[in-house]
Amino acid sequence: MTTAMPLSVTVAEPERLRELPTPARPRVDPADVVVPDGYHVEVVLAGLSMPCGMGFADDGTLFVLEGGSTWPTRPYLPARILRLEPDGRLDVVAEESLGGPRHVLVYGDTLLVSCKGGRHARIDRVSLKSGKRDVLIDGLPNGGWHEPGGPVLGPDGLIYFAQGSVSQQGVVLPQGFQVDLAKHMGVHDVPGEDVVLTGNNVQTYDPTAPYPYLVETGPFKPFGKPARRGEVVKGQLKCSSGLWRAQPDGTDMELVAWGLRNPYGMVFGEDGELYVSDNDFEETGDRAVQADPDRVWRIDAARTPPGSIDRPAWYGFPDICGDGLPVWHESHRPRRGTPAEPLLQDPPPWAGPAVFLEKPHSALTGLDVSRSDAFGYRGRLFLCEWGTLAPLNSPDSRDLENGFRVVAVDPSDGTAEAFMRNPRPGPASALGTGGLERPVDAKFAPDGSLYVLDFGVSRVMESTHVSYGHTGVLWRVVRDGSRP
C-alpha cells in the first residue's frame, strides 16, 4: 500500500455539471436519467477515476473504491479508497497498488477490501484508525482477466468472496495478450476439484513467437501447453473461478463453489440466500461461444453449515453456458471464431439453473438488495449492467447496446424490470446526453436511498478498447418524500 496523495475536491453548483472539463464526458445531468415515477436522481460525486465498488458503514459513511488499473489496464491511476462522510467531507483512507481495490466490506473499525492484484487476487484488511493494512487472504489465481467478488458478510458471520477465471474461454489464448500473456507468462486456470481432461486442445497462433506458428493449449495449462486425454488435474482450495467463505480474520477458508466465470457482484438477499452475478463467454477467437447469457446464480451451498462441504458446487466454467447447455451446443456455435469442444470428461453435476438470465454481454457487475419499504421494491436485487464490449467480443449487432442500466430483479421468479436507464439504449457518451455511462455497483444507504456507481466512459471499437479517467460518477436515487 502506498502513501495516499492529497485529494482535490470542490463543491459545485449543479450548472457546473453541464460544462465539465472532461471532453469524453462533458456533462452529467440527472434529468437525462430515467427512473420510475416517484423517484428522482441526484449527482453526489463527479470526476472519479475508474471506480469499481463501494460500501456503507452503519452511520452512513460511504467508502468508494477507485480501481487503479482496470479495464483495459491502462492508464493506471491512483487506486484509492475514498471516504465520504455523512456531512459531505471526502478524503482518502488508503491507496492500493497495481490491480487495485474492487469491493469493500465495512467490518467494525476495519475495511475488508478485495484487490485484483497481479497473478493473485487478495483480500486486505485496512484499519480505519491507523490506515495500516494487512493481507488476510492471498494467492487466489488471477492473471489479468476476471475479477474478484465480495467480500460480503453472511448471516452466519462468515465472509464470502470469489475470484473469476484466469482465462476468458476456458483456455489461455492470445486474445488476452496484453494483460495475460505479456504480463503474466505461465498463468492458467486451476480447478476446484480433481478433473479428468478430454484431451481436446485449442490451436492458435503464438503472438509472442518470431514466426506466427500454431501452438496447442489445454485447459488448466499455461499458454502453449497441451492436455492429454485422460489426464487428471488436481483440484485446489485456492482455485480459479471459485467462491469461498472464511472467518472475518481470514482463517477457516472453505471452498463453497467453483465454475463461476466472472462473479463480480455478490449479495445476501433478504431471504438469506447468496446471489452472485456472473458474465458470459465471448463470441470471438479460438474457442468462441455464441449467445451465452449473463446470469445471477443463487449459491445454495452457502446455506450449509461451515466446514461441512465435501464437494464444492460447480456452476459450469469452462464447459457449460449460463442456460445450462454445453458450449458446443448448436445454439452456442459461433458465427465468428472456432467452435468450442468439451474440455472436461465426466464433468461434475451442474449447480444451476440461474435465478436470472440476461442478454449476452450486458456485463453484470455489482448488486444490492432493497431492504426498505420506504424505497420500495423490497427484496428485489438492484443489479448493475456495465454494458457491452461488442463489437470486440461479439459480431452480433444486437449486442451493441446491451447493458448500460440498472435492473430490479425478482429472484423468486427470475423477472426483471429496467429501473435506471438512459432514454435510449447505449451509454450517454454515445447518445450525446448527460446520463448513465457504465453502472458498476449499486448499494443501498442506511437511509434507504440507492447509490449507483458509474465507472465512466469506456469506449469499444473493433480493434481497441479505451477507458477515460476522471469520468466516473456517483449517482443517488431517492424516492420522493422518503428522505429523512
Binding site: 482535490s8 475536491v9 470542490t10 463543491v11 457546473r16 472539463p21 471532453p23 471526502l90 479517467g469
Partner: protein, 184 residues
C-alpha cells in the same frame, strides 16, 4: 462534488502535459531526420525505397504533434523566439549525437557498414519516438480527451509497423555488415 476536475487542478495537469509534448516532438523530429539521412545513404534499392516510404509518414507524424497540443487545449510554442519554444536545433543535435554514438558502438562491435550502423540507431530512435506518442496517449486517457487518442492511436500503430520493417532490414543486412564487412 467535483473530484480533481476543478479548474485549477485541471489546468495544473494540462500544464504538466506540455513538457512531454515537447519531448515527443523532439524524439519524433530526431527520428525523422535520422531516417531521411539514412534513407539517402542506402544503396540497396528495395531498402532505400522502404525507408523513403516511411519517411513520408514520419514527416506526417511530426506535424501531428502540433495537433496534439490543440487536443490537450494547449498552445504550441513551436515558433522560435517564444518562451520555452521548440527549435529545430534540439532534434538536430539529438539526431547527430545518436548517429555518432551509433558509429562508435558499431565500429567497436566490428561492423564496417556506416549505413547499417545508422539503421541500428534508427531502430532505437523510432522506439523512443513511439513511446513519446504512447505516453501522450496515456495522458489523454487520464484527462478524458478523446481527441488525443484519435491522433495517437493510429500513429502508434503505424510506427509500430515501421519498427518491424526497420528491424527486419537491419537484421537482414547484419551478416554482411559484420562478417563480410560490406555496407547496405
Amino acid at each position: 462534488m467535483l473530484v480533481e476536475i476543478d479548474a485549477p487542478t485541471v489546468t495544473a495537469y494540462l500544464d504538466r502535459v506540455t513538457p512531454w509534448l515537447r519531448t515527443t516532438r523532439t524524439l519524433q523530429s530526431a527520428y525523422r531526420k535520422m531516417l531521411e539521412d539514412t534513407a539517402d545513404e542506402v544503396g540497396e534499392p528495395h531498402i532505400r525505397a522502404w525507408l523513403h516510404e516511411i519517411a513520408d509518414a514520419a514527416r506526417r507524424h511530426e506535424a501531428a504533434v502540433e495537433d496534439l497540443y490543440g487536443a490537450f487545449g494547449q498552445e504550441s510554442k513551436k515558433r522560435p523566439g517564444t518562451a520555452g519554444s521548440d527549435t529545430p536545433v534540439v532534434p538536430t543535435v539529438l539526431a547527430t549525437a545518436r548517429e555518432l554514438i551509433g558509429e562508435v558502438q558499431g565500429l567497436g562491435a566490428g561492423a564496417r557498414g556506416r549505413t547499417w550502423r545508422h539503421m541500428r540507431v534508427l531502430l532505437l530512435s523510432n522506439l523512443d519516438a513511439i513511446s513519446g506518442f504512447a505516453v501522450a496517449e496515456q495522458l489523454g486517457l487520464t484527462l478524458a480527451r478523446p481527441a488525443v487518442i484519435d491522433i495517437t492511436f493510429p500513429i502508434v500503430a503505424e510506427k509500430s509497423r515501421h519498427q518491424l520493417l526497420i528491424r527486419e532490414c537491419y537484421l537482414e543486412m547484419a551478416a554482411k555488415a559484420i562478417l563480410y564487412r560490406s555496407d547496405v
